[in-house]
Structure formats: structure tokens, C-alpha cells
């Protein structure tokens, strides 16, 4: 566990320097935070808090933030010639890999939570009218759990791809394709079904109930994340990484 945190510490030092530098990404993060944390909540008002879309919005935002840097995780070390030295250290395979995943998840979830809090303040300041506008507690918990799991899945996929990519650019391209397949695939499959089958599925989902759907989604994300991270760990071979 201590080695994993050592790795997280290093990754965060690099993120920090990146975020503090406006030229290297700090400015885009700042603009995004301004739009998502201030402009959108002020425009939408209480709907920004009460809408059911919140459940999908924050996980999507966190996953997007993770995806913006995870392709760099291993391919970037390879490209900048730091990978072999890292592999020659006493850190274990799992410490290196899990450390990189956790650092990216903290970044994505942290960004989402900070924006959520800023947004909450913005909504209350502009639309509070004397009372407090707050998220529904259960929905907030589910949202945060989904945000963590979506980030974890995204980080797992990103690291898995980054392990074998020769360059960051190559990793980003492969990652982009993987994300399109993962997000568009189910939609295309759904559209390919017969009209009656689609109607039946929608009716069945509606009958299941919101809470149970949330449980299904959480379970599915957890299973997929476990599989992807397990596959990445199996793919982490020092001998191959050194020679790639």
C-alpha cells in the first residue's frame, strides 16, 4: 500500500505542475471549471441540482477528465525515457500500475467534486432565495459512487492501452477508438434490434425501478473495472515493457 501511495505522490506532483502551468493545461481546466462550476449552475438554477441527469453528468465529467491524461500514463513514461528507470526500481508491478490508476481517479473524481461544490455554492448564491438548495442525499451518494466507478473503468482502459502504445499519440488514438466502441456500441446494438424487442426492453427497464437500475449499473461498472484492471496487471510484464 505504501508503494502505491509513493506512485500516487509522484503522479500528483506531475499533475500539480501541469495544472499550475496555464500553458500546459491549467488554463483549459480553469475554463472548464468556470463553465461547469459557475455558468451552467447559474443558468439552470435549482434544476441543476434536482435533475435526474445529475446521476449521469458527474460520472461523465470525471471520466472525461481521467481520459484526458490516462493515455499518457505508461506511454508518456516510455516516450520521455523514464519508464526503464522506474521499472529498475524496487516498486512492484502492481504498485506502479495501481498507483497510476488511483492518481488518475483522484484527479477525475476530485475535479468533478470540486465543480459540484462550486456549482452548489453558485446555485445557492444566485437562486437560493433565503433557503438552501441541496442534492437529494441518496442521489448524491449514487452519483459519487458512479463517478468513482466510471473514473476507475476509464483509468483501467487507459492504462491497459497505454501499456503497449509506443507513443502518447498512439495511445490517445487507440483510447479514442476504444471509448467510441464502448459508448456507441451498445446504442448501435440497441438500434439494430427489432422495434418490438426495443419496446419490450424499455418497458422491462421501466418496470425494474430506478434503484435497481442503479444497482445494476454500479455492479456492471465494478465488474468491468475489475476485469480491465486485472487484464492490465496481467499485461504488465517488465521484460516486454523494457523492450517495447
Amino acid at each position: 500500500m505504501r508503494d502505491i501511495w509513493t506512485m500516487v505522490w509522484k503522479e500528483w506532483r506531475e499533475f500539480r505542475d501541469q495544472l499550475l502551468s496555464l500553458r500546459r493545461g491549467g488554463l483549459s481546466a480553469l475554463i472548464l471549471a468556470l463553465i461547469l462550476g459557475v455558468v451552467a449552475p447559474v443558468q439552470l438554477g435549482p434544476d441543476w441540482v434536482n435533475s435526474k441527469l445529475v446521476i449521469g453528468y458527474w460520472p461523465f465529467l470525471a471520466a472525461t477528465m481521467v481520459s484526458s491524461l490516462i493515455a499518457d500514463s505508461v506511454a508518456g513514461e516510455r516516450e520521455r525515457h523514464t519508464l526503464e528507470t522506474l521499472l529498475a526500481s524496487r516498486l512492484s508491478d502492481s504498485a506502479i500500475l495501481i498507483g497510476k490508476i488511483i492518481a488518475a481517479v483522484i484527479y477525475g473524481v476530485g475535479f468533478a467534486v470540486v465543480n459540484l461544490l462550486i456549482g452548489l455554492v453558485a446555485v445557492n448564491v444566485t437562486h437560493g432565495e433565503g433557503g438552501l438548495i441541496l442534492f437529494d442525499a441518496q442521489r448524491l451518494v449514487v452519483t459519487i459512487v458512479l463517478t468513482i466507478l466510471a473514473s476507475l473503468l476509464m483509468a483501467g482502459i487507459g492504462v491497459f492501452i497505454s501499456l503497449r502504445a509506443a507513443t502518447v499519440k498512439q495511445a490517445q488514438q487507440a483510447f479514442g477508438i476504444a471509448i467510441i466502441v464502448i459508448t456507441m456500441g451498445p446504442l448501435l446494438l440497441f438500434n439494430a434490434l427489432e422495434y418490438e424487442t426495443r419496446e419490450k426492453l424499455i418497458a422491462r427497464l421501466a418496470a425494474v425501478g430506478e434503484t435497481r437500475i442503479e444497482v445494476y449499473v454500479v455492479t456492471a461498472l465494478l465488474v468491468m473495472s475489475t476485469i480491465v484492471i486485472g487484464a492490465a496487471l496481467a499485461r504488465f510484464r517488465r521484460g516486454k515493457l523494457v523492450l517495447d
Binding site: 505522490w9 509522484k10 505542475d17 525515457h81 523514464t82 526503464e84 529498475a88 526500481s89 524496487r90 523492450l243
Partner: protein, 344 residues
């Protein structure tokens, strides 16, 4: 052997329970072979590196030096043969080996966005050096290498020489038992090379660590190394002290500066049984003697033939001469791995 100046921080790592009993040899390789598809990068390499010395591994580009380091660090497996580093099997105990070694590999491997302090802090944490000890050690090393004043600058802004020094500092930060330095002065200008070489010599003497240094800078190897091995095409051609390798080339070469040399005298000299070959440049004769022959009778004969002798000097070959000779012998197909054991 120089004494160590502090405790080995490797003992803070969890893997140290695996460490085997101490050995007289930091590295023992027995017939290791490594193939990359049809290319044989290491060819039956057998080598013993005693503990506490600076060992120079010399060879041209593509000779197999980096591959050997990767095998010794347990980063890649040998295709055949067996190697032990610090008494640990490279195939089985890679993690334990890495926990007791430091390495500066082909590239400095520094995080250029981070400061020097953060780079060293990260690797200190990775080796579980306790916080206070880590901070003291970072200060000590950065001061020794003249980098302390720039410790907070991002490493990306540094010169190549400074980066190499920092990478060496990182390699020894946790006081490893064995340090691999893969061409540490490669790409540096002569002034930076000389500076780093001095730092390495001082470091090796001060830390008492075994250093496995690969280089094709023979001057560097001659000045730093207690023993050297010469590798080409994955095969070890020779191993021994720089002196012993030079003496291969030294045997029986004598320079004579003389007046009154004639064509007849040179021809007569060439015909003598104890003379292997003679070359003449102006008034300088270079005589290569046959095995076991002495120069004294030849000098006496020259004096008898009215040649004025001004200087007689045994030619001291440099390590570079010995190296180039080994390379030419090998490229003629005469070198075999067995030669290495003879030299050893």
C-alpha cells in the same frame, strides 16, 4: 576495499528477507545467452565481478552491454545460462535484486517537470528511505555534485551534464550494494565528462559500493576501473585489470631513437631471429620483439654498427590499444569466449 559510510537503506525494503548470504562476487554470470529473434545479443557470457570494485564493461555500440545490465537487474530473462547478482538468482529474485541495486540506464530517466529534489524524493520514497534520512541524503548528494542551489528548478531546464549528475545521485541515493551505470558520460562535452568522472571516482571511494560501469570511453575506464571486461557481439573477449589488458599489447614493443640508421642496418635488423617486425619513422625505430626476446643484444649490435642511440623506451600500450587489438582479433574470427577465461 573502501568502507561504507552509512547503512544500506535497502534494508528498509520488504524484500530484503530474501537476501542470500554475502558473497565475494557482486555478479556471477555463467554462460548466459540472450536472443532477440535471430539476433544473439549475449553469447555464452561468463563473468565474475568482485564486490567493492569499479568494474568497467567495455564494448562498441551493440556489443550487448545494455542487455547484460537488463539481465543482471532481472528486467529481462536470459535465454540460456544462469546469473547471480548479490547472491540472488536473476530469473527468480528480480525484485530482491532491484531492491539492493541502483541504476543509471541508457537515459537519465528523470522526470523533467519535477525539481531535482522531487526526483530524488520520489526514488527515496520508492526505496523506503526514512523521511529524515532521505532529506539529509538528498542534501548531501546534491551538495557533493554541486546541484544544491538549483534543487527547486524543474530538471527539464538543466544542462545534460547536470542531468547526468542528478541521475548518478539518484542511483546511489538509497546506498545500494551495487550500482549499474550505463555509459554515464555519453553525450557530455569533455569538461562535463571530466567533472562527472571525478565525481564518480570520489563517489566510488566514498560510498564503498560496487560499480558496474559500461562505457566505450577507454580513458574513463582506465582511470576509474579496477577491472574491465571487453565484450563484442555478445561475447566476452577479455577480462582483467586495465594493467593486465595493456600488458597483452605491451609485450616486446620497443621504441629506439637513433642516429646513423641505414637501409642495410634496418634490413639486417629485420633478419634477426629475435625481431618480429621493424617500422621506421625518421630516426625512430619501433621494434616488435619475438616472444621472450630481450632488447639488450639488439641495442649492443646497433652500437657496434655505429648507430648513435639517443633513447630506448619500452612502448606502454594504452587500454585503447589493447581494446582495438581485441576488436581486430575478434573481427578476424580469432577471438573465442575461451580467450576471456585465459585473460581472467
Amino acid at each position: 576495499m573502501p568502507r561504507r559510510c552509512g547503512p544500506s537503506f535497502a534494508s528498509f525494503g520488504a524484500e530484503t528477507s530474501l537476501v542470500a548470504a554475502s558473497s565475494d562476487f557482486a555478479i556471477r554470470a555463467d554462460n548466459i545467452t540472450r536472443d532477440f529473434g535471430p539476433v544473439r545479443a549475449l553469447d555464452r557470457l561468463s563473468l565474475e565481478v568482485p564486490t567493492g570494485i569499479v568494474f568497467g564493461f567495455l564494448g562498441p555500440n551493440g556489443a550487448g552491454k545494455t542487455t547484460a545490465i537488463r539481465v543482471f537487474l532481472g528486467l529481462i530473462d536470459a535465454t540460456g545460462g544462469r546469473a547471480e547478482v548479490l547472491g540472488l538468482d536473476t530469473r527468480r529474485d528480480g525484485a530482491a535484486i532491484r531492491s539492493r541495486c541502483g541504476a543509471l540506464l541508457e537515459h537519465p530517466g528523470l522526470y523533467e517537470r519535477l525539481s531535482a529534489g522531487d526526483n530524488l524524493d520520489f526514488y527515496g520514497r520508492a526505496w523506503r528511505v526514512p523521511r529524515r534520512v532521505r532529506q539529509e541524503r538528498i542534501r548531501e548528494l546534491l551538495t557533493r555534485f554541486g546541484l544544491w542551489d538549483r534543487r527547486d528548478d524543474p530538471v527539464g531546464r538543466w544542462s545534460r551534464g547536470m542531468k547526468q549528475k542528478l541521475a548518478v545521485a539518484r542511483a546511489v541515493l538509497h546506498r545500494p550494494d551495487l550500482v549499474f551505470l550505463d555509459e554515464p558520460t555519453s553525450g557530455l562535452d569533455p569538461v562535463a565528462t571530466a567533472g562527472l568522472r571525478e565525481d564518480l571516482a570520489a563517489l566510488a571511494a566514498h560510498e564503498g559500493v560496487t560499480v558496474f560501469l559500461t562505457t566505450h570511453n577507454l580513458n574513463e575506464a582506465e582511470r576509474l576501473c579496477g577491472q574491465v571486461g571487453v565484450i563484442r557481439g555478445g561475447r566476452l573477449l577479455a577480462v582483467g585489470s586495465p594493467e593486465s589488458l595493456r600488458s597483452r599489447r605491451d609485450s616486446g614493443r620497443v621504441d629506439i631513437v637513433a642516429r646513423g640508421l641505414t637501409e642495410t642496418i634496418v634490413t639486417s635488423l629485420r633478419a634477426r631471429p629475435e625481431v618480429h617486425s621493424v617500422t621506421v619513422h625518421d630516426c625512430r625505430l619501433t621494434i616488435s620483439l619475438s616472444s621472450g626476446a630481450s632488447i639488450a643484444p639488439i641495442v649492443a649490435w646497433l652500437v657496434q654498427n655505429d648507430v648513435g642511440i639517443e633513447e630506448v623506451r619500452q612502448v606502454r600500450a594504452t587500454l585503447e590499444d589493447a581494446f582495438l587489438e581485441l576488436m581486430s582479433v575478434d573481427s578476424n574470427g580469432a577471438g573465442t569466449p575461451e580467450d576471456a577465461s585465459r585473460d581472467a
